[in-house]
């Protein structure tokens, strides 16, 4: 065996830190799952790395999906930050888009990340056409910056109205702030997001500023810990758009890590499914509190323009489109005042967690919190009580789960414990299937034409039920569903997105100016790729315009080839996309161009997914490690239990059966069959 050379993906989640090791020199892979360390995530991170690569000198690249930024925002544990803005507009950040947290019930509230007294106004104004109405008063800006420093601010954001149309005032102001600011934590709104929509730009920019010290500090610490262990390679961070960036970029643009981990998971699924012959796939990531759905059509996952981390905390940056509903292993079941069974959205999370974890205080929260979806799976025999995932618990308390199910669901509905547990799963599955259908409709697809790929620790238990509920004929369970995001880290390309608002009629579009802008963006993107010192197979550049008919407010994304960059070319491309989306054109109405979007992608070499296929696989009968009684559709079934990872390529098993592995359990229902494909996926069919 030659000396190892690792590329490692690390996804730090709320409960577990997942690690995927690819030894390029020896063409081997390994995984590890360790508890996440709250407070300082780098401790769990380093512990996870050591499990597979004790000598950090052997590590060439570490790619990291992180929730440090997201958690800091959710807990409002960010740096003290100030905003300098146009006179008359300091409250834009707090006024949002005039929304409320819930449709029903008027008891919401909102705490902005930057409080009102740290949002200072200066004289300046640019109009929507880009003309300067009032030049900026730099002396006022400096005084404001000093006032923020005196108030103890560690980071600053400069946000001027209409700076997307002309950033001359904002640039002058930010230069003045940077000239006296003691660190690099200064964000300018148009530098980050030169796009029309003041609240979204102000929110994204101020959240970015507030995260700079937090994410920067974390990555710095992590980098030091790695280097101290002898690491001499590259540390890369996954962005919400599913591409990776360098630590240097992440320090400047930490807001781009908003959906880092989940995005990596979807990237992995898209790649795995495409290679396995399923370019159209819907992924479902079932965690402790939520179920995340994403749709991949023709091998590509869609990008959403923005997301809200929490009510009123909008981050506008391209991100993998993921829809979340409150249904997970920790979702709590109960019967409401009308006698109707409800599951979720309340969740027991991982602490105190499901009843079977045995972490609830007897009498106190055991009584208020009902049983969870995981408890139902345990009671029905689908989860091995003696082999809990993640290694934090010794064994699961089946009896306690049953007692709670009977009390909270069985007795009120006059069902026995098994029927009550099955009822909980039916309601939960129906809810998750509903989310899958809705996401498909919103994107104009029929979900029945897609394959379904579960990932996350809990998803594979429900794969057959989801297939039945949605009407999907193929399910694909990846080889390591519990560490999919970590695998995605290893696969992800390096990508830099840019946007610029043009907001003009197509007939007035200055093509030469746009071409120059694209060239400049391309250059900047290629330069950013070059500084990261990563080897790429090739570099791809893409151009997209947000276009619409005059009078509409919803834009559609229109990809345009570089050689079709003309007004006629844009018109043809727009009409093609519009016709496809809405079935008709609106002749006679002027076409407008709102934004230019550019992306420069450095394609990293993909590792051979054949490495995921089982080595020294065995016949199914030799992988049987036992048998369990599983309750399913009203009766008990004897289900053989298989060691999933030992199954050879081509082996086929008919349900009922259970497949166990360290990061998940797969429940194969009667009437379905599962077959191991050449990438180690378990392909389930009806």
């Amino acid at each position: 065996m030659s000396s190892s050379r690792y590329i490692i993906g690390v996804d730090v989640g709320g409960t577990f830190t997942d690690v995927f090791f690819l030894d390029e020199a020896n063409q081997r892979i390994a995984i590890a799952k360790v508890p996440s360390t709250r407070g300082d995530q780098s401790i769990g991170f380093i512990a996870g790395l050591k499990q597979g690569a004790p000598d950090f000198k052997t590590i060439a690249t570490v790619v990291h999906g992180t929730t440090v930024g997201t958690n800091a925002l959710l807990e409002r544990k960010v740096a003290k930050t100030g905003v300098i803005t146009t006179i008359g507009f300091r409250d834009v950040l707090e006024m949002r888009r005039r929304d409320r947290p819930q449709t029903w019930g008027l008891n919401g509230s909102f705490t902005p990340v930057v409080p009102r007294d740290l949002r200072l106004e200066v004289d300046e104004r640019v109009l929507a056409d880009g003309s300067v109405h009032t030049p900026v008063d730099v002396a006022q800006v400096k005084a404001a910056a000093q006032q923020l420093l005196d108030a103890g601010c560690e980071a600053a954001c400069v946000f001027f109205i209409n700076s997307y149309a002309n950033d001359v005032n904002e640039n002058a102001a930010v230069a003045a702030v940077r000239s006296l600011w003691p660190n690099a934590h200064v964000t300018a709104s148009a530098e980050l997001l030169p796009e029309i929509r003041e609240f979204e730009r102000a929110s994204t920019a101020s959240l970015n500023a507030a995260l700079q010290p937090v994410v920067g500090g974390y990555l710095d610490k992590l980098d030091k810990s790695l280097r101290a262990g002898g690491f001499a390679g590259q540390l890369l961070i996954v962005q919400s758009n599913g591409g990776v960036m360098s630590v240097e970029t992440a320090n400047k643009l930490p807001v781009r890590t908003a959906l880092s981990g989940p995005a990596a998971g979807v990237i992995a699924c898209a790649h795995l499914a495409r290679e396995a012959g399923f370019p159209n796939v819907i992924t479902g990531d079932m965690g402790g509190t939520s179920f995340d759905v994403s749709l991949i059509a023709n091998g590509e996952s869609a990008l959403a323009a923005q997301t809200a981390i929490d009510f009123g905390m909008v981050v506008r940056t391209p991100m993998i489109e993921i829809t979340t509903i409150g249904a997970g292993g920790g979702s709590i079941a109960g019967v409401d005042a009308s006698g109707l069974l409800q599951v979720g959205p309340q969740s027991a999370g991982s602490d105190p967690g499901p009843v079977c974890y045995g972490l609830r205080e007897i009498g106190a929260n055991e009584d208020e919190l009902g049983p969870t979806v995981t408890d139902a799976n345990v009671a029905l025999g689908r989860i091995n009580a003696d082999r809990p995932i993640g290694g934090k618990l010794k064994r699961l308390d089946v009896e306690a789960a049953k007692v709670s199910i009977l009390k909270h669901v069985g007795v009120p509905l006059k069902l026995d414990v098994m029927a009550a547990a099955e009822a909980m799963l039916r309601v939960a599955n129906a809810k998750m299937a509903g989310a899958v259908r809705l996401v498909s409709i919103e994107r104009g697809h029929d979900p029945k034409k897609f394959a379904y790929m579960p990932f996350g620790g809990g998803g594979a238990l429900h794969v057959c039920a989801m297939m039945r509920e949605v009407g999907v004929t193929t399910g694909v369970v990846p080889r390591y569903p519990g560490v999919t995001s970590a695998l995605g880290c290893v696969i992800a390309d390096m990508r830099h997105d840019g946007v610029r608002t043009l907001n003009t009629a197509l007939d007035d579009l200055d093509i030469a100016a746009v071409a120059a802008l694209i060239e400049q963006r391309g250059k900047a993107g290629r330069a950013a790729l070059a500084t990261a010192e990563v080897a790429f197979e090739r570099i791809e550049e893409s151009i997209e315009f947000d276009m619409l008919y005059a009078g509409q407010t919803h834009t559609i994304a229109v990809p345009v080839a570089a050689d079709a960059l003309s007004r006629a070319g844009l018109r043809a491309a727009f009409e093609r996309v519009y016709q496809k989306a809405f079935g008709r054109l609106l002749p006679g109405i002027a076409i407008r161009v709102l934004n230019l979007r550019t992306a420069v992608t450095g394609k990293r070499r993909k590792f051979d997914l054949g490495l995921l296929s089982p080595q020294d696989g065995k016949a199914a009968k030799d992988c049987r490690i036992g048998e369990r009684k599983v309750w399913h559709q009203g009766r008990e079934h004897s289900a053989p239990v298989y060691e999933r990872l030992s199954l050879a390529v081509g082996e086929s098993v008919a349900g009922p059966a259970l497949f166990e592995q360290s990061d998940t359990t797969i429940w194969l229902e009667p009437g379905m069959t599962a077959r191991v494909d050449s990438y180690g996926n378990l392909v389930i069919s009806v």
Binding site: G88, F89, D91, V92, E94, M95, R97, R98, D99, R100, T103, W104, G105, L106, N107, G108, S109, P115, R116, D117, R125, L127, A128, H133, I161, N162, Y164, A165, I196, R197, E198, E200, D336, A337, S338, G339, L340, L341, L413, K414, L415, E422, A423, R426, V427, A430, K431, G434, R437, L438, I441, E442, G444, G551, Q552, T553, H554, F582, L586, I589
Partner: protein, 547 residues
């Protein structure tokens, strides 16, 4: 009898059909009021009574109660029954609720040759004729000055499309393309609903689904009864006023007397003012819908199902301002239903202090600025900027009210000012929270806003349709009242205010002149004497309060 589990599953599956219909329309609608503000709704309604069986979660709150009336209107006008493939369309607000912009489509759903239920779709169309673009005419005295009035007619007759109906609708709109786009979206939503409901019936069987629908209605009744039972028995009254009707400058009383006994409630609106000349009248169906909205804010878990209203008796005299018929103008219905919700909150605060909040800002402030372009390139082009504005929410049991929220009847967001400035010849000179506008209280009301807009073109006409200019949003349980709504405009170097405070047409603006909206905050919750001194100091530090 249907088992509890199938019932729970079908509950979600049925609701999802409505949600998917919503999503279909949002995705394909042309007009931003539907596409962005989601001013639309879909559902399933009883074959014979038109009562709401199921409605989606994503539709506009106020439609949840109103749609049953629309379906009922179609049933009443079809004594000879329906043909499979019929689709009705109309906007008559006296029968179908709300206002003339809301076009309702009703499709009888047949199963094995028999009427099973109705599917319906409603959406707010951008422009439907009348005197004012966008149809918010503050000085209308008849419905025809607001918009065209279409009774239930067949858009499809036994599956056969009638293009003449579309031609009539398009000919009566300033935005015929928008009419076409929205109508197509609504038809597509109904088609999707048909497919989904057929799939569901194939999967579970017609009898099971019918049983589930009946059972879900029973459960809704039971749930509402259980909720009402948690309130102490007694009589609770509350009154509030509208500034005026835009024609006659006299306050209009909205009053409710609630008698709560056991598991039932009687809501008596008899003391409410009689019908008025201007457009703040509403139809009875709209009043009932707004009562439903108030109850659902107080008891968020109750479903969108007619059973919710069964334990509630509603008394509204026919002569009332909240029970008018044709041709009384109803364009400003939003203002009146906001006041009905306010008095419901005010009355029930006495019974359920832990569930109710101070009143929200209580007016949508519809502002229109319009004129013609004078620059070389666009000379003579007409422009109309039409928008609604936000205000504060009331203090509530958990804390201070939300600053700058949307109206309780809606979930619409406000357009970005940069989008408005890019589209129209205006410059915002202020877009800010309005200090001291929230009612004092143990939990302070949220702040309203100040929006100040300067005209960049040579001249423009402005009109405003608002409320709360004379009677501020009130607090509950001893909480203080919020600031009044103030509208001002510049004229010849002077700031002026409308004679009828919150409503005015024909304001002439010249280049450089401004209009200013100062919107109310929310009412306070509980007495100000109980406010945490630290919270008070924080308000002063942040400038939410100036004194």
């Amino acid at each position: 009898m249907i088992d509890a589990v199938t019932l729970a599953v079908l509950n979600g599956r049925l609701e999802q059909i409505a949600d998917e219909m919503d999503a279909t329309l949002y995705r394909s609608a042309f007009n931003p009021i539907i596409a962005e503000a989601h001013d639309a709704s879909h559902g399933l309604y009883d074959a014979l009574s038109g009562e709401t069986l199921v409605q989606g979660k994503s539709g506009l709150p106020i439609f949840v109660g109103a749609m049953a009336f629309a379906v009922k209107a179609v049933i009443d006008r079809s004594p000879n029954g329906f043909k499979d493939g019929d689709v009705f369309i109309f906007n008559d607000p006296y029968e179908g609720g709300t206002h003339l912009n809301d076009f309702k489509l009703v499709r009888p759903f047949f199963r094995n040759g028999k009427l099973f239920c109705h599917l319906a779709s409603v959406g707010h169309w951008h422009d439907v004729g009348g005197n004012v673009p966008g149809n918010y005419n503050p000085v209308a005295t008849e419905c025809w000055q607001e918009a065209m009035l279409i009774p239930p007619v067949k858009l499809y007759d036994g599956g056969e499309y009638r293009p003449d109906i579309l031609a009539i609708l398009q000919a009566n709109s300033r935005l015929p393309n928008s009419v076409l786009g929205d109508l197509n979206g609504q038809v597509a939503a109904l088609e999707l609903g048909m497919r989904r409901l057929n799939d569901l019936l194939d999967e579970y069987g017609d009898a099971t689904v019918l049983e589930a629908l009946a059972e879900l209605r029973k459960r809704a009744v039971k749930l509402m009864r259980a909720n009402i039972a948690t309130l102490p028995d007694g009589n609770y009254s509350f009154e509030d006023y509208l500034d005026n009707d835009g024609i006659v400058d006299e306050p209009l009383l909205i009053a409710v007397d609630i008698e709560k006994k056991g598991e039932t409630m009687r809501l008596d609106f008899s003391r409410t003012s009689p019908a008025c000349a201007g457009p703040v009248n509403i139809a009875r169906s709209t009043a009932v819908a707004s009562i439903y909205v108030a109850l659902k804010h107080i008891f968020p878990a109750v479903p969108a199902n007619s059973g919710v209203l069964e334990p509630i008796e509603i008394i509204i005299p026919e002569s009332s301002l909240i029970s008018v018929g044709k041709p009384k103008p109803v364009g400003g219905y939003t203002e009146t239903i906001l006041r009905i919700i306010d008095v419901m909150f005010g009355a029930l605060a006495q019974a359920a202090p832990e569930r109710v909040n101070g009143m929200a800002y209580g007016t949508i402030n519809a502002l229109s600025l319009a004129g013609y372009r004078t620059d070389e390139k666009r000379k003579g082009q007409r422009w109309v900027m039409f928008s609604f504005f936000g205000g504060g929410h009331g203090g509530h049991p958990q804390g201070d009210g939300l600053n700058h929220g949307n109206a309780p009847i809606s979930t619409a967001t406000i357009p970005p000012l940069e989008i408005l400035e890019a589209a129209y010849p205006v410059r915002f000179t202020q877009w800010a929270l309005r200090p001291d506008s929230g009612g004092a209280g143990k939990h302070r009301g949220g702040l309203g806003a100040v929006y100040e807009i300067e005209l960049l073109e040579q001249s423009a006409d402005a009109f405003i349709f608002g409320e709360r200019g004379k009677f501020p949003p009130q607090g509950v349980l001893g909480g203080g009242e919020a600031a009044l709504n103030v509208f001002s405009y510049e004229n010849g170097g002077e700031w002026k205010q409308p004679p009828a405070v919150s409503k005015m047409v024909g304001i002439k603006l010249k280049q450089g002149e401004r209009v200013r909206l100062e919107t109310p905050g929310g009412g306070g919750y509980g007495p100000a004497s109980q406010r945490d001194p630290a919270a008070q100091a924080n308000d002063l530090r942040l400038g939410y309060l100036t004194k």
